[in-house]
């Protein structure tokens, strides 16, 4: 981001050019299905305004004129917000989510809304009504090289891999260079999972740091807006512009937040890296296990203290999440009745039958399933046994983390996903809940505890697909977390995606990004 910003200030490129290039790249990568709505006219207008500011020598900041994308579960004034659901198709919000407003106030150019799993429920970005999102790496030279020659001919149509979810559209958008940063949301790993599969940086900030006002809620006690960028420095910049108390969201903390620039760490010997043994979960691919070990060795050889730690309740986090999430979903989805906004059924017999019909027409199976499960766990006869029990288990999980961080560990190092991205055809063989339960295991506990975590792309797998590792930090210690992550990023030198479409559009601007990533 710093590079592009400098280019804009020096006049080597104008905001309008940047915007137009991104828009045309979006069109040529349309087969990825990363975007639900593209706000072409509005974006060009914003770019023009930004250009005027630059010509006066008065840019608003590093983000002025930078094209960004936002996940479609953030409210955006004047742009359709659908949450990839029939329930909100055609819904145009009257206001901007606080984080969207903050980006716009910094001069960022909002290109459009990205695709997701319906209402952010899922771990593949495959269950939205606008169709699944394709991982840009499916079309990369690196992946194609490694696929069997026979499958290469029907490649484009049948062999593509998923992006992971639920912020798959945002991850794909950043990964395919159609924007410089994107917003996602993270409730159980929804930002870090697709970040790992798409080879981008995915940051989940501490719960309470960034406002959730305008983010259509899934689980009020665990949701956070997530940040997806191509490098750790960029994530810090975006974080700096978004964090801080918001009077419209009472779950944001009131402490003063000061945006920071990341130091270029050279000496990691003062850090203690914890490696939780429970994260060696069943189903973890041997490739990722090896990568995880290599990373731990990297830190050890650089002088850091690397210790094995234990988070004994990790394996219950998925079950706990399952109960708490469905319960909160049951409550949060109750607002969709067709009266004030969104889809409304033609059924007019009675209020209740209208609500029932509206909701049956508007929600897909996944959402409906979770609402019903949630209501079951909240029934009077089940409340203590399931909901309250899950809340107690939650405390145990949080205490595990408190204990570990209290014993001198600064950062935890874990894998982000169990394997590299699977082909879509294979992914859909199992249902959403099973998939989520499997894929969220490494990322979910962090949401329970509200801790900050970041996925850093680490290496390419045997199949030529990205694999990332996750760093977990202490609450509100994003600066420390990102500093270590940046050091790690520099050590691993994750390769650039080699996409034909990007090469065609590449004229210097993206060259800046490339050198930023590899420097």
């Amino acid at each position: 981001l710093f590079q592009v910003s400098a280019a804009l200030r020096a006049g080597r490129v104008t905001a309008t050019e940047l915007c137009q290039r991104c828009l045309s790249l979006i069109k040529s990568t349309g087969f990825l299905n990363a975007y639900i709505s593209v706000a072409e006219q509005a974006a060009l207008r914003q770019a023009e305004e930004s250009e005027k500011r630059y010509s006066r020598g008065q840019p608003l900041g590093v983000l002025d004129g930078i094209p960004v994308a936002v996940k479609d579960n953030f409210n955006t004034a004047g742009i359709e917000t659908t949450c990839a659901s029939n329930m909100l198709k055609g819904y145009i919000s009257p206001y901007n989510a606080t984080v969207v407003q903050k980006l716009l106030d910094q001069g960022a150019v909002l290109l459009g809304k990205t695709n997701l799993d319906e209402f952010a429920m899922g771990s593949g970005s495959t269950d939205g009504v606008f169709g699944p999102v394709r991982n840009p790496w499916s079309y990369s030279r690196q992946y194609k090289e490694k696929s069997a020659p026979e499958s290469r001919s029907e490649d484009r149509e049948s062999n593509w891999v998923i992006t992971g979810g639920s912020s798959g559209g945002s991850a794909a958008a950043v990964s395919s260079f159609t924007c410089f940063a994107a917003l996602g949301s993270d409730t159980g790993g929804s930002t870090r999972n697709p970040a790992a599969h798409c080879g981008v940086v995915g940051l989940k900030p501490t719960y309470g740091l960034i406002s959730r006002h305008g983010l259509i809620p899934l689980v009020n006690s665990m949701d956070v807006p997530g940040i997806l960028t191509r490098c750790v420095d960029d994530a810090a910049v975006v974080l700096g512009s978004l964090a801080g108390h918001d009077p419209k969201d009472s779950t944001t903390i009131q402490d003063n937040f000061k945006p920071f620039e990341l130091p270029n760490l050279t000496d990691v010997s003062k850090f203690t890296i914890g490696v939780p043994k429970e994260y060696h979960a069943p189903g973890l691919s041997s490739e990722i296990l090896a990568l995880w070990s290599k990373a731990a060795d990297l830190f050890k050889n650089a002088g850091a203290k690397v210790v094995e730690v234990s988070l004994p309740h990790t394996r219950y986090s998925i079950v706990c999440y399952h109960v708490l999430c469905t319960a909160e979903v049951a409550s949060n989805m109750a607002r969709f009745d067709g009266l004030e906004y969104g889809h409304r059924s033609d059924m007019n017999e009675s209020t209740e039958s209208m609500y029932a019909a509206t909701r049956r027409e508007g929600f897909n199976d996944v959402v409906r399933g979770r609402i019903l499960s949630g209501n079951y766990f909240l029934l009077k006869q089940n409340y203590e046994n399931y909901f309250v029990k899950a809340q107690k288990v939650r405390r145990l999980i949080v205490n595990d983390f408190v204990k570990v961080f209290g014993s001198g560990v600064d950062i935890l190092l874990t894998p982000t996903t169990l394997s590299d991205a699977v082909p879509y055809m294979e992914f859909i063989k199992a249902d959403n809940r099973t998939r989520s339960a499997q894929d969220d295991i490494l990322t979910q506990a962090v949401n329970m505890a509200g801790l900050p975590a970041i996925n850093v792309p680490t290496a390419l797998s045997e199949r030529g697909l990205p694999v990332g590792l996750q760093f977990i930090g202490r609450s509100f210690q994003e600066k420390q977390l990102l500093t270590v992550a940046k050091w790690f990023e520099k050590q691993v030198q994750f390769p650039m995606i080699e996409l034909e479409e990007v090469k065609k559009h590449d004229q210097g601007i993206f060259q800046h990004q490339k050198s930023a990533a590899s420097s």
Binding site: H322, V323, T351, S353, L372, N375, Y386, V388
Partner: protein, 107 residues
Amino acid sequence: KVAVEVLDHLERLALVDFRDTEGIERLQNAIQFADQLHEVNTDGVEPMDSVLEDRCLYLREDDVTEGNCTKELLKNAREKVEEYFVAPPGNIPLPKLEEQEIVLQGS
């Protein structure tokens, strides 16, 4: 297995239907999955509502700072009359599971 009355009750509470046996099976699986929670010993543990439980909630002065956006809010509603949202008649209970099929088929 979940009793039919409970299923009925759930549909009524959630105002969302199971639609078919697959939906009901999904619920059974979900419950079975959640039963694993009972393996954990939580004696003496307080339930946790939020990770920010040690902090005070932000409260501001009770003054009106925004509003007066009736037109924008009404824009998204399908049925309205003047400044009212229009709903079909209330106080009519949802038909039972068996009758529902007939009613909803018409929608």
